[in-house]
């Protein structure tokens, strides 16, 4: 294991990075290390963990805003929010079960650094949409603070959001400020069984064009649905297409009726009540329907209407198991292990249908050998290099994590 640094203050972190930059020593940045198994492996002489940068520094429930130091565990953030009946809007996904890490360990910094949002993204937006302020240290060891604690802020460029999804390759965040929302009074789930992919996505799209504010729209192919915790759904041996409504009780009831009425051509609907809904969507959030196995896990973002076609195209080359989230706009795709992670096929098909694909789970050797993130067009590649150089000219932060020579 490399030299492990646990800075407890911004200046300490600055100092460590300055030292590394001077010696051009590569640094791996981890929060709790929960997403370490994702992306290309980083060979860092020094590992910096934000684990000691802990604590909630500001929480104003009446203004729907919270600031936390980057190493604060997500669980702590969420339980603090829960005391005031609030939550993170974007339902951060927990990749632990799918990638073999413990679940519930991730840090709030890591959540924003990876910008992985769960089912509610279609209704409320992504992690990046809720990040409004950030403090951090870049590869030049400069401490910077951008954005702020107010919701609306266009003072200067939106670098804050730009750091979301940068996987620690631009800067180490030491504090993040984000928007939160109230928990809905209740939730209900409407489920249709046994639909083929294309019909299911059609159903989800129809539901999402109705003014009922669907806050979760997923489709699980039959083998995936068989891993659900809900005993009734698990044993059906059928695909599961589910829609979530969240609001105050009478609104949920009315909207559910409206929704079912509009979707009745798709067959009879099952329903999950509030408690069952929490469990059902909690499971999806932990991705436990895609358990850790030697197979590969890809995450593909595309247009909902093309998603079933894209999956069908890949299926011509290899067996697939699929969990569609975001009304079809996100595909969690499980395919058999392969030395090249089947990148050629998957990337070609994605290119034809439009979108981007990330390899989430594969052996480290495989991840080191292939392009894990979506390859860049020449124009964007130039900008990507520029951005990296602007933040981290020596290339010491998580080198190679996103792109082989960056």
């Amino acid at each position: 294991m490399s030299d492990l640094q646990r800075p407890g203050a911004d200046w300490e972190l600055q100092f460590v990075i300055a030292g590394c930059a001077e010696k051009r020593m590569p640094v791996e940045i981890v929060g709790s290390g929960s997403k370490r198994g994702i992306g290309r492996p980083v060979d860092g002489a020094v590992t910096i963990t934000t684990a000691s940068l802990r604590g909630i520094s500001l929480y104003e429930p009446n203004e729907l805003v919270m600031s936390a130091r980057a190493g604060t565990p997500l669980s702590q953030v969420e339980s603090e929010l829960a005391t005031r009946g609030q939550m993170l809007p974007f339902e951060p996904i927990d990749l632990g079960p799918a990638t073999g890490a413990a679940h519930g360990s991730q840090t709030i910094g890591g959540v924003f650094a990876t910008n992985m949002s769960g089912a509610r993204r279609i209704q409320c937006g992504a992690a990046r949409d809720h990040l409004i302020g950030v403090k951090g240290v870049n590869g030049r060891a400069e401490l910077f603070q951008l954005g702020g604690r107010v919701m609306k802020n266009v003072t200067g460029y939106d670098v804050t959001r730009g750091l979301a999804g940068s996987w620690g390759t631009l800067a180490v965040m030491t504090e993040v400020t984000f928007k939160v929302i109230p928990w809905p009074e209740t939730a209900a789930t409407v489920i249709y069984l046994g639909l083929p992919d294309d019909l299911a996505i059609e159903l989800l799209s129809t539901a999402l064009t109705l003014p009922v504010e669907v806050s979760g729209a997923i489709h699980l192919q039959a083998p995936v649905a068989a891993r659900l915790g809900h005993p009734g759904l698990r044993i059906m041996g059928k695909s599961v297409t589910a829609l979530r409504l969240e609001n105050f009780s009478s609104a949920v009831a009315g909207r559910k009726q409206h929704l079912k009425e509009m979707l009745k051509v798709y067959g009879k609907a099952l329903e999950l009540d509030h408690r069952e809904s929490l469990e059902f969507w909690g499971e999806l959030r932990r991705l436990s329907v895609m358990p850790n196995r030697p197979s590969l896990l890809w995450r593909i973002s595309t247009k909902p209407t093309t998603a079933p076609k894209l999956v069908a195209a890949i299926k011509r080359y290899m067996p697939v198991e699929v969990y569609y989230d975001w009304g079809g706009a996100l595909i969690w795709l499980e395919v058999p292990a392969a030395d090249d992670a089947s990148t050629a096929e998957i990337r070609r098909v994605t290119a034809i249908h439009g979108g981007h694909a990330t390899l989430i789970r594969a052996e480290p050797a495989v991840r080191a050998a292939v392009e894990v993130f979506q390859p860049l067009d020449p124009g964007l590649e130039r900008l990507t290099r520029g951005l990296k150089a602007a933040f981290d000219p020596a290339g010491i932060l998580n080198p190679g994590r996103m792109y082989a020579n960056l």
Binding site: A18, G19, E22, N62, E63, L64, N115, G125, A126, R128, D129, N138, A141, E142, L143, F144, Q145, L146, G148, V150, M151, K152, N153, V154, T155, G156, Y157, D158, V159, T160, R161, G162, A164, G165, S166, I181, P182, W183, T209, L210, P211, F248, S250, A251, G254, S301, K303, P304, T305, W326, G354, H356, A357, G379, L380, T384, G386, L387, A390, M402
Partner: protein
Amino acid sequence: MPANTCNRRMTVTIRYRLEHPIAVLLSKSMTAIGGAAILNFCTRRAAHLNFLKLEPPMTLSRMPEPDRTVLDRSEAIIGELVALLGADGIISREEGRRAFEADALTAYRQPPLAVALPRTTEDVSKLLKYCRQAGVKVVPRGAGTSLCGGATPTADSIVIGTSRMNSVLETDFVNRTITVQTGITNLAITDAVSAEGFFYAPDPSSQLACTLGGNLAMNSGGAHCLKYGVTTNNVLGLKMVLMDGEIVEINGPYLDSGGYDFMALVIGSEGQFGIITEATLKIIPRMPFARPVMLGFSSCEAAGQCVAAIIGSGIIPVAIEYMDKPAIAVAEAFAKAGYPLDVEALLIVEVEGFEDEIDRLLRAITDIARNFDPQVVEASTSTEHSDRIWKGRKAAFGAMGRISDYYCMDGTIPLARLPEVLSRIGEICAEKRLKVANVFHAGDGNLHPLILFNANDPDEAIRAEQAGAEILKLCVAVGGCLTGEHGVGIEKRDLMDIQFSPSDLAVQMRIKSIFDPHWLLNPGKVFPLPAQELGEQSAADEAA
């Protein structure tokens, strides 16, 4: 070991210090530039602090010196532009150029060298490529409704206006997206999808006229962004032309970015990264009903507490708007919306949903409001009434023009500090012997104090600008920011170092240099001028 560490830390610190733009500026200017820049800088600082009274240039911010070599070539440059776009696409005569000398902040005026009105992305690409080669600066312009001088030209720049690029390219109702050219007006986007029951969420009060391009450049918000977010939360993909003419596509009709989130960086870049020519946007199914309720209070404290209590209760209305007494009077004169004229503070709270949901929400909201002793609680009675209530609010700035010139501020503050900030704003304006009216997005703390002044009185104009600067400093001091939705532009650029440290600014300026290494796009905006000059310099150094 300690000694060693200490040593290392020292060198690191010094290095770090030297990398600070201001430090570098000092050292550089002392040697090469010979102090001129410092002098300049100090004068301006002094002006800020009111040590030095500025003479007639009625504003505090100066624009960069025009590039003589460009001005000398102006005829040749115009000839080239005409060759690229045809005479119909270029405006070069004096009178015509003057019509483009200002946006909605008329305190800053400067006719450009020429104006180009392209029709396609390819036209824009040709123009930028030429300008880059010829070293000519470029100012993108949408509808010119910017309130911060974002589209103000310089004498040596070409204005590239997108007004002719206003087509809808594709609507996709199943996937809930629309792709448009960026010269389209904000309202026209909603008009294009409303027959199918959709709308495009960000709704700046200027939505009738402002273009999507301007909205993207400023990351504009609006009354309804409390629920639906601002521009950056409603865009899926962009097509943009970089300064060298290269056309890049950033994301597309799918969610999130596969790599770095360049879209986040470009939205809100105030026209300094490239010219955005097309965009794919999220469209949202419109709720069947929406209804505003008007809540009138005898003090701004009560109104502020009421807003906090509503949000704290777990209800997020679509909009919570605030007007104070002077603003109510003006808006009422224009819209005849039936606003109560005798309250100190009026909240317009709008909720949406199905009919019965609205009733329930309005009941909950009025119940909360009753704890704060409201003088007026009145829900809209019809769609037509709702339209008038919103018409008055949305036209409040313009309607202010009926009684006076105004200078519109745009700071954002944490809601809890509202009463204190409002009373300070009153004091600041009183000290400067100016009147002020407040209209703002209360749900997210985005203030719009309108400082009333006489633009033909240079002294009053300066006082207005000084009052504005103090108000913005106050916003930052209480934990807020300089601008919530209008952008920095020229107007607030010299206040940027109140909110940002030198390294904060350096981080931003380096990103500018990636997109536009020669700093040709929208010059003189966003950063304090000395910092800009330095940014340009260091970009050039780094390139060399």
